[in-house]
Symmetry: C2
Subunit: 213 residues, 2 copies
């Protein structure tokens, strides 16, 4: 079809590096976007922007994210290994620019909370800081890091041990209305989107068509 | 704060199973939603709905997804191992109900393409079928499966070897406008959302504030 772009392996491999990075980062679809809060054993807090958080399981409650190769300094990685704790904090429209700013390369002694003018708060059970301006905040205990041999990245797995969210966004069946809570989504590396619910659908069965609930 | 729900480990662990499943599946944030197309060595095609696709790397171009424990029949898993090929096909508003229907439990000899009235098409290089009604279609070669010990799931890694997308959605710098292409996003297990772009932001540097581009 003449309006469809068709790329094959050679096209992808020979693409200019930054062009390919933008394209391939777009391909997975819309992504979650979280600020990961950590603290070093010296007490310096850190924030990093993570778009690779993925659901691993509900029982036990586990979440994963992809860590790039630790061939350079990775404060988030070091802090998680040192303290065993980290937090995920959903982005919303009021803080997405500040959150994006945390992806700049700051010196190790600089807290991204301060650099981006976000507020750190603590709970009684987690060593790692939360982002006060975030409406959905999750505390995790580090479980394991799993090497991905093909490109040297790591899958970092954590157990959900604490959750904060707006009371009026939680439905009786357990569904958390993250759109109502103001959470946003991202595409590729640098683009942010709000959402608008289309429908919630019933559990699919082979002998009937699904319907809106 | 009285309007904030606060759950700790014991609350999460003692929650009714389906309630916890809905809640924990909401926590990662908005998710990509793809139909995964495969074919068995007997030639039976299969579609499965996957909300765990994650970017692994751009050079080489790699994508991952989480496969639940293969303690029961998993057609997608078996087909990927048998043929080495699979496709990801972005959902859009015209097909999300049909796509959701594919998550019903059909007999192994039933193609979800037929059950959900979606159209299979093939390229010259991939054994696995694509979904014609999808606007962004990705062909992958299986690379490796990585066990996640803590709960028996698997991280399935594939190399992007073919891409189809609308020509008018691709910007000169490589960014693929998946919103313009009609791709949608999902939350928890059963809710679908369209998106509305807020802004695209410049690359963050420590010595200046980011801006819209």
């Amino acid at each position: 079809m003449k309006n469809t772009e068709h790329l094959v392996k050679g096209d992808i491999e020979s693409m200019e590096r930054r062009t390919r990075t933008q394209l391939i980062n777009s391909l997975s679809g819309f992504k979650s976007i979280n600020l990961c809060g950590t603290i070093s054993k010296e007490g310096v807090t850190n924030l990093s922007l993570i778009s690779s958080v993925v659901h691993i399981g509900a029982n036990p409650a586990l979440m994963g994210f992809i860590m790039r190769p630790v061939t350079v300094r990775r404060d988030t990685y070091n802090n998680i290994l040192e303290t065993g704790h980290y937090t995920f904090n959903h982005l919303n429209e009021a803080i997405f620019k500040k959150a994006h700013q945390t992806s700049a390369r700051y010196p190790v002694e600089t807290s991204e909370f301060e650099a981006a003018e976000l507020t750190e708060i603590y709970s009684e059970v987690m060593k790692a800081p939360y982002v006060q301006e975030s409406h959905i905040r999750i505390g995790l205990e580090f479980v394991e890091k799993i090497p991905i041999p093909v490109n040297g990245t790591l899958l970092m797995i954590g157990k959900v041990t604490e959750i904060f969210f707006p009371k009026n966004c939680w439905l009786a069946d357990g569904y958390l209305d993250i759109e109502k809570a103001g959470s946003i989504t991202t595409s590729s590396l640098d683009t942010y989107h709000r959402t608008q619910k289309i429908a919630r659908l019933s559990y699919a069965k082979a002998d009937r068509m699904i319907k809106e609930i």
